[in-house]
Amino acid sequence: MDGTICNKRIVQIHPTLQCNLFCKHCYSNSGPALLENKLNVETLKDFITDASGAGYNVISFSGGEPLMYEGLEKLLIHSKSLGLRTSVTTNGTTLTVDKLEKLKGLVDLFAISLDGPPKLHNEIRNSANAFELLLKGLDAIKRSGIQFGFIHTLTRESWEHLLWIADFANRHGASLLQVHPLEMIGRADSLMQSSCVQDETNLRAYLLLVALALKYQKLMPIQYDVLNTDYVKQNPSSVYAEDFKSDNVKKSTLAELMNPLVVESDGYVVPVSFGFSKRYAICNITNQRFSTGQSNYLNDGKYDGFRKICKDVFRDIMNSKNLVLFNWYELITNKSHALSKLTADSYLT
Protein backbone atom coordinates (compact mmCIF):
# COMPACT_ATOMS: atom_id res chain seq x y z
CA MET A 1 0.00 0.00 0.00
CA ASP A 2 1.36 3.41 -0.72
CA GLY A 3 -1.42 5.88 -0.16
CA THR A 4 -1.17 9.01 -2.20
CA ILE A 5 2.37 10.00 -1.37
CA CYS A 6 5.26 7.66 -1.96
CA ASN A 7 8.67 7.69 -0.35
CA LYS A 8 8.17 11.04 1.34
CA ARG A 9 6.51 10.29 4.69
CA ILE A 10 5.12 13.56 5.89
CA VAL A 11 3.97 14.93 9.19
CA GLN A 12 2.11 18.22 9.14
CA ILE A 13 2.31 20.18 12.38
CA HIS A 14 0.05 23.07 13.39
CA PRO A 15 1.97 24.46 16.38
CA THR A 16 -0.30 27.48 16.70
CA LEU A 17 -3.55 28.91 15.42
CA GLN A 18 -2.28 32.42 15.84
CA CYS A 19 -2.06 34.35 12.62
CA ASN A 20 -1.73 38.01 11.67
CA LEU A 21 -4.46 37.58 9.06
CA PHE A 22 -8.08 36.42 9.17
CA CYS A 23 -8.49 34.78 5.78
CA LYS A 24 -11.94 33.90 4.60
CA HIS A 25 -10.97 30.40 3.50
CA CYS A 26 -8.86 29.45 6.52
CA TYR A 27 -9.36 25.73 7.12
CA SER A 28 -8.08 25.95 10.70
CA ASN A 29 -10.08 29.02 11.80
CA SER A 30 -6.86 30.81 12.69
CA GLY A 31 -6.55 34.49 13.46
CA PRO A 32 -4.90 37.25 15.48
CA ALA A 33 -6.96 36.63 18.62
CA LEU A 34 -5.93 33.00 19.07
CA LEU A 35 -2.91 33.62 21.28
CA GLU A 36 -3.45 30.65 23.58
CA ASN A 37 -3.88 27.99 20.95
CA LYS A 38 -0.33 26.71 20.73
CA LEU A 39 1.64 23.62 21.55
CA ASN A 40 4.59 23.41 23.86
CA VAL A 41 7.98 23.35 22.10
CA GLU A 42 9.35 20.43 24.11
CA THR A 43 6.21 18.42 23.48
CA LEU A 44 6.65 18.96 19.77
CA LYS A 45 10.35 18.12 19.90
CA ASP A 46 9.47 14.80 21.53
CA PHE A 47 6.83 14.21 18.91
CA ILE A 48 9.24 14.92 16.05
CA THR A 49 11.73 12.49 17.57
CA ASP A 50 9.06 9.79 17.82
CA ALA A 51 7.70 10.50 14.34
CA SER A 52 11.17 10.13 12.91
CA GLY A 53 11.45 6.79 14.69
CA ALA A 54 8.12 5.74 13.18
CA GLY A 55 9.44 6.34 9.66
CA TYR A 56 8.34 9.88 8.85
CA ASN A 57 11.02 11.91 7.07
CA VAL A 58 9.42 15.26 6.23
CA ILE A 59 8.10 17.79 8.75
CA SER A 60 5.74 20.36 7.29
CA PHE A 61 4.81 23.33 9.50
CA SER A 62 1.51 25.08 9.01
CA GLY A 63 -0.91 26.88 11.30
CA GLY A 64 -2.02 29.62 11.86
CA GLU A 65 1.05 31.42 10.69
CA PRO A 66 3.99 29.24 11.77
CA LEU A 67 6.42 32.16 11.61
CA MET A 68 4.55 33.67 14.54
CA TYR A 69 5.31 30.60 16.66
CA GLU A 70 8.31 31.48 18.81
CA GLY A 71 9.53 27.91 18.97
CA LEU A 72 9.69 27.36 15.23
CA GLU A 73 13.45 27.79 14.94
CA LYS A 74 14.07 25.25 17.73
CA LEU A 75 11.78 22.74 16.06
CA LEU A 76 13.49 23.22 12.72
CA ILE A 77 16.92 22.79 14.32
CA HIS A 78 15.69 19.63 16.01
CA SER A 79 14.20 18.30 12.77
CA LYS A 80 17.43 18.91 10.93
CA SER A 81 19.44 17.21 13.66
CA LEU A 82 17.40 14.09 12.89
CA GLY A 83 18.06 14.38 9.18
CA LEU A 84 14.50 15.33 8.31
CA ARG A 85 13.38 17.54 5.45
CA THR A 86 11.36 20.59 6.39
CA SER A 87 8.82 22.90 4.84
CA VAL A 88 6.95 25.92 6.18
CA THR A 89 3.60 27.06 4.80
CA THR A 90 3.24 30.80 5.26
CA ASN A 91 1.15 33.75 4.12
CA GLY A 92 4.44 35.47 3.31
CA THR A 93 3.52 38.78 4.96
CA THR A 94 5.92 38.52 7.88
CA LEU A 95 8.99 37.37 6.00
CA THR A 96 11.98 39.64 6.58
CA VAL A 97 15.63 39.40 5.66
CA ASP A 98 16.64 39.07 9.33
CA LYS A 99 14.11 36.36 10.04
CA LEU A 100 15.11 34.38 6.99
CA GLU A 101 18.80 34.66 7.79
CA LYS A 102 18.16 32.62 10.95
CA LEU A 103 16.22 30.01 9.01
CA LYS A 104 18.78 29.40 6.29
CA GLY A 105 19.77 25.78 6.27
CA LEU A 106 16.77 24.92 8.43
CA VAL A 107 13.93 25.24 5.90
CA ASP A 108 14.07 23.26 2.67
CA LEU A 109 10.97 24.85 1.18
CA PHE A 110 8.75 27.80 1.99
CA ALA A 111 5.25 27.35 0.59
CA ILE A 112 3.68 30.78 0.22
CA SER A 113 -0.07 31.17 -0.09
CA LEU A 114 -1.22 33.00 -3.19
CA ASP A 115 -4.93 33.41 -3.83
CA GLY A 116 -4.82 35.22 -7.16
CA PRO A 117 -4.08 38.66 -8.63
CA PRO A 118 -3.84 41.47 -6.05
CA LYS A 119 -7.52 42.34 -5.77
CA LEU A 120 -8.68 38.74 -5.39
CA HIS A 121 -5.82 37.88 -3.05
CA ASN A 122 -6.61 40.82 -0.74
CA GLU A 123 -10.30 40.03 -0.78
CA ILE A 124 -9.77 36.45 0.33
CA ARG A 125 -7.06 37.43 2.80
CA ASN A 126 -9.44 40.00 4.25
CA SER A 127 -6.68 42.58 4.12
CA ALA A 128 -6.23 45.60 1.88
CA ASN A 129 -2.46 45.30 1.86
CA ALA A 130 -1.88 41.56 2.05
CA PHE A 131 -0.59 41.38 -1.51
CA GLU A 132 1.73 44.34 -0.99
CA LEU A 133 3.16 42.67 2.11
CA LEU A 134 3.45 39.41 0.20
CA LEU A 135 5.61 41.17 -2.40
CA LYS A 136 7.89 42.49 0.32
CA GLY A 137 8.16 39.04 1.83
CA LEU A 138 8.86 37.63 -1.58
CA ASP A 139 11.68 40.07 -2.08
CA ALA A 140 13.19 38.98 1.22
CA ILE A 141 12.95 35.30 0.47
CA LYS A 142 14.50 35.70 -2.94
CA ARG A 143 17.46 37.43 -1.35
CA SER A 144 17.80 34.62 1.19
CA GLY A 145 18.23 31.99 -1.48
CA ILE A 146 15.86 29.62 0.33
CA GLN A 147 13.75 27.59 -2.07
CA PHE A 148 10.08 28.56 -2.20
CA GLY A 149 6.89 27.70 -4.00
CA PHE A 150 3.31 28.93 -4.08
CA ILE A 151 0.20 27.21 -2.85
CA HIS A 152 -3.00 28.36 -4.47
CA THR A 153 -6.45 27.55 -3.12
CA LEU A 154 -8.61 27.12 -6.17
CA THR A 155 -12.05 28.73 -6.00
CA ARG A 156 -14.92 29.21 -8.40
CA GLU A 157 -13.55 32.68 -9.13
CA SER A 158 -9.84 31.99 -9.24
CA TRP A 159 -9.67 29.31 -11.93
CA GLU A 160 -9.80 32.02 -14.61
CA HIS A 161 -6.65 33.51 -13.13
CA LEU A 162 -4.52 30.38 -13.27
CA LEU A 163 -2.46 31.74 -16.16
CA TRP A 164 -1.71 34.89 -14.19
CA ILE A 165 -0.91 32.87 -11.09
CA ALA A 166 1.46 30.54 -12.92
CA ASP A 167 3.13 33.44 -14.68
CA PHE A 168 3.55 35.30 -11.39
CA ALA A 169 5.00 32.25 -9.72
CA ASN A 170 7.44 31.56 -12.52
CA ARG A 171 8.53 35.20 -12.89
CA HIS A 172 9.44 35.31 -9.22
CA GLY A 173 11.45 32.12 -9.38
CA ALA A 174 9.12 29.71 -7.59
CA SER A 175 10.21 26.10 -7.48
CA LEU A 176 6.64 24.86 -7.35
CA LEU A 177 3.05 25.90 -7.97
CA GLN A 178 0.62 23.77 -6.03
CA VAL A 179 -3.12 24.08 -6.52
CA HIS A 180 -5.57 22.74 -3.97
CA PRO A 181 -9.35 22.99 -4.36
CA LEU A 182 -11.14 25.02 -1.73
CA GLU A 183 -12.60 22.80 0.96
CA MET A 184 -15.70 23.71 2.92
CA ILE A 185 -14.01 23.43 6.30
CA GLY A 186 -13.15 25.99 8.95
CA ARG A 187 -13.99 29.56 8.06
CA ALA A 188 -14.60 28.70 4.42
CA ASP A 189 -17.71 26.80 5.42
CA SER A 190 -19.36 30.01 6.56
CA LEU A 191 -17.68 32.69 4.47
CA MET A 192 -16.97 31.08 1.12
CA GLN A 193 -19.87 28.81 0.26
CA SER A 194 -20.47 30.71 -2.98
CA SER A 195 -16.84 30.07 -4.01
CA CYS A 196 -17.11 26.32 -3.61
CA VAL A 197 -15.41 24.45 -6.44
CA GLN A 198 -18.02 22.67 -8.51
CA ASP A 199 -17.31 19.76 -10.79
CA GLU A 200 -17.00 21.85 -13.95
CA THR A 201 -14.57 24.25 -12.30
CA ASN A 202 -12.37 21.30 -11.42
CA LEU A 203 -12.45 20.07 -15.00
CA ARG A 204 -11.65 23.49 -16.46
CA ALA A 205 -8.83 24.03 -13.98
CA TYR A 206 -7.42 20.62 -14.73
CA LEU A 207 -7.21 21.30 -18.46
CA LEU A 208 -5.61 24.67 -17.91
CA LEU A 209 -3.10 23.21 -15.51
CA VAL A 210 -2.15 20.55 -18.03
CA ALA A 211 -1.36 23.27 -20.55
CA LEU A 212 0.55 25.23 -17.91
CA ALA A 213 2.43 22.16 -16.79
CA LEU A 214 3.56 21.66 -20.35
CA LYS A 215 4.63 25.28 -20.58
CA TYR A 216 6.63 25.27 -17.37
CA GLN A 217 8.00 21.75 -17.43
CA LYS A 218 11.28 21.57 -15.55
CA LEU A 219 11.13 25.32 -14.88
CA MET A 220 8.40 25.05 -12.31
CA PRO A 221 6.49 21.87 -11.57
CA ILE A 222 2.76 22.26 -11.16
CA GLN A 223 0.84 20.10 -8.75
CA TYR A 224 -2.95 19.73 -8.60
CA ASP A 225 -4.34 17.90 -5.60
CA VAL A 226 -7.15 15.98 -7.28
CA LEU A 227 -7.49 12.38 -8.34
CA ASN A 228 -9.15 10.86 -11.35
CA THR A 229 -11.79 8.18 -10.87
CA ASP A 230 -10.37 5.83 -13.51
CA TYR A 231 -6.89 6.09 -12.03
CA VAL A 232 -8.13 5.28 -8.55
CA LYS A 233 -10.18 2.38 -9.84
CA GLN A 234 -7.01 0.86 -11.29
CA ASN A 235 -4.90 1.81 -8.29
CA PRO A 236 -7.01 1.36 -5.12
CA SER A 237 -3.85 1.30 -3.03
CA SER A 238 -3.39 4.97 -3.87
CA VAL A 239 -6.30 5.66 -1.51
CA TYR A 240 -5.69 2.83 0.97
CA ALA A 241 -8.59 0.86 -0.48
CA GLU A 242 -6.84 -2.34 -1.49
CA ASP A 243 -7.49 -5.50 0.46
CA PHE A 244 -5.11 -5.88 3.33
CA LYS A 245 -4.60 -8.19 6.23
CA SER A 246 -4.85 -6.82 9.73
CA ASP A 247 -1.97 -9.09 10.72
CA ASN A 248 0.37 -7.07 8.52
CA VAL A 249 -0.33 -3.96 10.54
CA LYS A 250 1.74 -5.11 13.48
CA LYS A 251 4.71 -5.79 11.23
CA SER A 252 4.68 -2.30 9.75
CA THR A 253 5.65 1.18 10.85
CA LEU A 254 2.92 3.75 11.01
CA ALA A 255 4.60 5.71 8.23
CA GLU A 256 4.15 2.74 5.90
CA LEU A 257 0.46 2.58 6.76
CA MET A 258 -0.60 6.20 6.95
CA ASN A 259 0.80 9.17 5.12
CA PRO A 260 0.62 11.98 5.87
CA LEU A 261 -0.02 12.41 9.56
CA VAL A 262 -1.40 15.65 10.97
CA VAL A 263 -0.82 17.22 14.39
CA GLU A 264 -3.55 19.70 15.18
CA SER A 265 -2.95 22.65 17.47
CA ASP A 266 -4.70 20.94 20.39
CA GLY A 267 -2.24 18.06 20.24
CA TYR A 268 -4.41 15.47 18.53
CA VAL A 269 -2.60 13.41 15.91
CA VAL A 270 -5.07 12.53 13.16
CA PRO A 271 -4.87 10.64 9.90
CA VAL A 272 -4.05 12.28 6.60
CA SER A 273 -5.77 15.65 6.78
CA PHE A 274 -6.52 18.50 9.16
CA GLY A 275 -10.06 18.20 10.42
CA PHE A 276 -10.25 14.40 10.31
CA SER A 277 -12.61 13.18 13.00
CA LYS A 278 -10.81 12.91 16.31
CA ARG A 279 -12.62 9.65 16.91
CA TYR A 280 -9.92 8.14 14.70
CA ALA A 281 -7.02 10.01 16.27
CA ILE A 282 -3.83 8.09 16.96
CA CYS A 283 -3.28 9.89 20.27
CA ASN A 284 -2.94 13.31 21.86
CA ILE A 285 0.68 14.29 22.34
CA THR A 286 -0.11 16.69 25.19
CA ASN A 287 -0.81 13.72 27.44
CA GLN A 288 0.94 10.81 25.75
CA ARG A 289 4.19 10.23 23.91
CA PHE A 290 3.55 9.53 20.25
CA SER A 291 5.79 6.47 20.40
CA THR A 292 3.38 4.91 22.89
CA GLY A 293 0.27 6.20 21.21
CA GLN A 294 1.13 4.89 17.78
CA SER A 295 2.12 1.51 19.20
CA ASN A 296 -1.23 1.22 20.93
CA TYR A 297 -2.98 2.38 17.79
CA LEU A 298 -1.40 -0.33 15.69
CA ASN A 299 -1.69 -3.13 18.23
CA ASP A 300 -5.24 -2.46 19.38
CA GLY A 301 -6.83 -2.68 15.94
CA LYS A 302 -7.73 0.99 15.69
CA TYR A 303 -6.03 1.27 12.32
CA ASP A 304 -8.77 -0.93 10.90
CA GLY A 305 -11.23 1.89 11.44
CA PHE A 306 -9.21 4.16 9.16
CA ARG A 307 -8.98 1.50 6.46
CA LYS A 308 -12.70 0.91 6.56
CA ILE A 309 -13.33 4.59 6.02
CA CYS A 310 -11.02 4.46 3.02
CA LYS A 311 -12.89 1.48 1.61
CA ASP A 312 -16.18 3.25 2.14
CA VAL A 313 -15.01 6.31 0.26
CA PHE A 314 -13.63 4.13 -2.52
CA ARG A 315 -17.02 2.47 -2.93
CA ASP A 316 -18.73 5.86 -2.99
CA ILE A 317 -16.37 7.03 -5.71
CA MET A 318 -16.84 3.92 -7.81
CA ASN A 319 -20.62 4.14 -7.47
CA SER A 320 -20.86 7.80 -8.34
CA LYS A 321 -22.02 8.50 -11.84
CA ASN A 322 -20.05 10.92 -14.00
CA LEU A 323 -17.47 11.76 -11.33
CA VAL A 324 -14.17 12.37 -13.11
CA LEU A 325 -12.05 14.37 -10.65
CA PHE A 326 -12.28 14.61 -6.91
CA ASN A 327 -10.47 15.81 -3.80
CA TRP A 328 -9.89 12.58 -1.93
CA TYR A 329 -8.83 14.29 1.31
CA GLU A 330 -12.05 16.26 1.49
CA LEU A 331 -14.14 13.16 0.84
CA ILE A 332 -12.40 11.06 3.42
CA THR A 333 -12.48 13.79 6.07
CA ASN A 334 -16.21 14.27 5.52
CA LYS A 335 -16.74 10.51 5.71
CA SER A 336 -14.84 10.31 9.00
CA HIS A 337 -17.29 12.77 10.53
CA ALA A 338 -20.31 11.12 8.99
CA LEU A 339 -19.28 7.76 10.40
CA SER A 340 -18.41 9.25 13.77
CA LYS A 341 -22.05 9.96 14.22
CA LEU A 342 -22.76 6.26 14.07
CA THR A 343 -22.12 4.13 17.07
CA ALA A 344 -18.36 3.46 17.17
CA ASP A 345 -18.77 -0.13 18.16
CA SER A 346 -21.17 -0.97 15.41
CA TYR A 347 -18.73 0.40 12.85
CA LEU A 348 -15.55 -1.14 14.07
CA THR A 349 -16.96 -4.65 14.49
Binding site: T4, I5, C6, K8, I10, Q12, Y27, V58, S60, S62, R85, S87, T89, D108, L109, G149, T153, E160, L162, L163, S175, L176, Q178, D199, E200, L203, R204, Y206, L207, L208, V210, A211, L212, A213, L214, K215, Y216, Q217, K218, L219, P221, I222, Q223, Y224, D225, L227, N228, D230, Y231, Q234, N235, S238, P260, S273, F274, N322, V324, L325, W328, Y329
Partner: protein
Protein backbone atom coordinates in the same frame (compact mmCIF):
# COMPACT_ATOMS: atom_id res chain seq x y z
CA UNK B 1 -3.65 35.58 -37.46
CA UNK B 2 -3.01 36.41 -33.86
CA UNK B 3 -0.53 34.03 -32.34
CA UNK B 4 -1.61 32.88 -28.98
CA UNK B 5 -0.22 30.27 -26.69
CA UNK B 6 -1.97 26.98 -26.08
CA UNK B 7 -2.94 28.00 -22.58
CA UNK B 8 -4.29 31.40 -23.66
CA UNK B 9 -6.40 29.84 -26.37
CA UNK B 10 -7.59 27.18 -23.98
CA UNK B 11 -8.57 29.72 -21.33
CA UNK B 12 -10.54 31.72 -23.85
CA UNK B 13 -12.29 28.60 -25.01
CA UNK B 14 -13.12 27.50 -21.49
CA UNK B 15 -14.37 30.91 -20.46
CA UNK B 16 -16.46 31.94 -23.40
CA UNK B 17 -17.62 28.92 -25.31
CA UNK B 18 -20.39 26.56 -24.32
CA UNK B 19 -18.21 23.56 -23.84
CA UNK B 20 -20.46 21.31 -21.86
CA UNK B 21 -19.53 19.16 -18.95
CA UNK B 22 -19.52 16.02 -21.03
CA UNK B 23 -16.87 17.36 -23.38
CA UNK B 24 -14.81 18.66 -20.50
CA UNK B 25 -14.97 15.24 -18.89
CA UNK B 26 -13.96 13.58 -22.15
CA UNK B 27 -10.97 15.89 -22.49
CA UNK B 28 -9.84 15.11 -18.96
CA UNK B 29 -10.32 11.37 -19.44
CA UNK B 30 -8.27 11.57 -22.63
CA UNK B 31 -5.41 13.23 -20.85
CA UNK B 32 -5.55 10.76 -18.01
CA UNK B 33 -5.46 7.92 -20.50
CA UNK B 34 -2.39 9.35 -22.17
CA UNK B 35 -0.72 9.90 -18.86
CA UNK B 36 -1.48 6.32 -17.96
CA UNK B 37 0.51 5.17 -20.96
CA UNK B 38 3.39 7.55 -20.64
CA UNK B 39 3.83 8.50 -17.01
CA UNK B 40 6.90 7.38 -15.24
CA UNK B 41 5.84 8.40 -11.78
CA UNK B 42 2.63 7.52 -9.96
CA UNK B 43 0.14 10.24 -9.23
CA UNK B 44 0.50 11.95 -5.88
CA UNK B 45 -1.82 14.35 -4.14
CA UNK B 46 -1.50 16.28 -0.89
CA UNK B 47 -3.91 17.49 1.76
CA UNK B 48 -4.46 21.17 2.42
CA UNK B 49 -1.42 23.10 3.59
CA UNK B 50 1.21 20.50 2.71
CA UNK B 51 3.50 21.37 -0.19
CA UNK B 52 4.99 18.69 -2.39
CA UNK B 53 8.30 18.07 -0.61
CA UNK B 54 10.25 17.25 -3.73
CA UNK B 55 9.01 20.27 -5.61
CA UNK B 56 8.07 17.92 -8.40
CA UNK B 57 4.52 17.82 -9.65
CA UNK B 58 2.89 14.77 -11.07
CA UNK B 59 2.48 16.50 -14.32
CA UNK B 60 5.80 15.41 -15.71
CA UNK B 61 4.16 12.92 -17.99
CA UNK B 62 5.44 14.05 -21.29
CA UNK B 63 8.97 12.93 -21.53
CA UNK B 64 9.18 13.11 -25.27
CA UNK B 65 8.04 15.56 -27.86
CA UNK B 66 6.12 12.85 -29.68
CA UNK B 67 3.97 12.32 -26.63
CA UNK B 68 3.10 15.96 -26.46
CA UNK B 69 2.26 15.85 -30.13
CA UNK B 70 0.01 12.87 -29.52
CA UNK B 71 -1.77 14.72 -26.79
CA UNK B 72 -2.32 17.73 -28.97
CA UNK B 73 -3.57 15.63 -31.84
CA UNK B 74 -5.92 13.77 -29.55
CA UNK B 75 -7.43 16.97 -28.25
CA UNK B 76 -7.79 18.20 -31.80
CA UNK B 77 -9.17 15.01 -33.25
CA UNK B 78 -11.54 14.31 -30.42
CA UNK B 79 -13.08 17.77 -30.71
CA UNK B 80 -13.21 17.71 -26.96
CA UNK B 81 -12.61 21.42 -26.90
CA UNK B 82 -13.86 22.64 -30.26
CA UNK B 83 -12.05 25.35 -32.17
CA UNK B 84 -8.96 25.20 -30.02
CA UNK B 85 -7.31 23.49 -32.96
CA UNK B 86 -7.00 26.87 -34.58
CA UNK B 87 -4.34 27.70 -32.07
CA UNK B 88 -2.60 24.44 -31.53
CA UNK B 89 0.74 23.94 -33.08
CA UNK B 90 3.97 22.10 -32.71
CA UNK B 91 6.03 23.47 -29.91
CA UNK B 92 9.42 23.99 -31.39
CA UNK B 93 11.79 23.56 -28.55
CA UNK B 94 14.92 22.06 -30.03
CA UNK B 95 15.94 19.84 -27.25
CA UNK B 96 17.11 16.47 -28.52
CA UNK B 97 16.74 14.92 -25.08
CA UNK B 98 13.07 15.63 -24.87
CA UNK B 99 11.00 17.91 -22.68
CA UNK B 100 12.68 17.48 -19.38
CA UNK B 101 15.29 20.14 -19.85
CA UNK B 102 16.85 22.59 -17.47
CA UNK B 103 16.40 25.64 -19.63
CA UNK B 104 15.15 27.00 -22.91
CA UNK B 105 11.52 26.40 -22.11
CA UNK B 106 9.67 29.62 -22.41
CA UNK B 107 6.42 30.89 -23.78
CA UNK B 108 4.77 28.52 -26.13
CA UNK B 109 5.01 29.72 -29.67
CA UNK B 110 2.40 28.90 -32.14
CA UNK B 111 0.98 29.27 -35.58
CA UNK B 112 -2.47 28.95 -36.93
CA UNK B 113 -3.45 25.84 -38.78
Amino acid sequence: MEQRSLEEALLEQLKYSNVDREKLSDAVRTIVEISGKTKTKPIRIFPKGIPYPDGWGWWNWFTKKEELGNFINLVVDSNAVPSIYHHIFPIGIPDPEGWLVENTLGAVKGHST
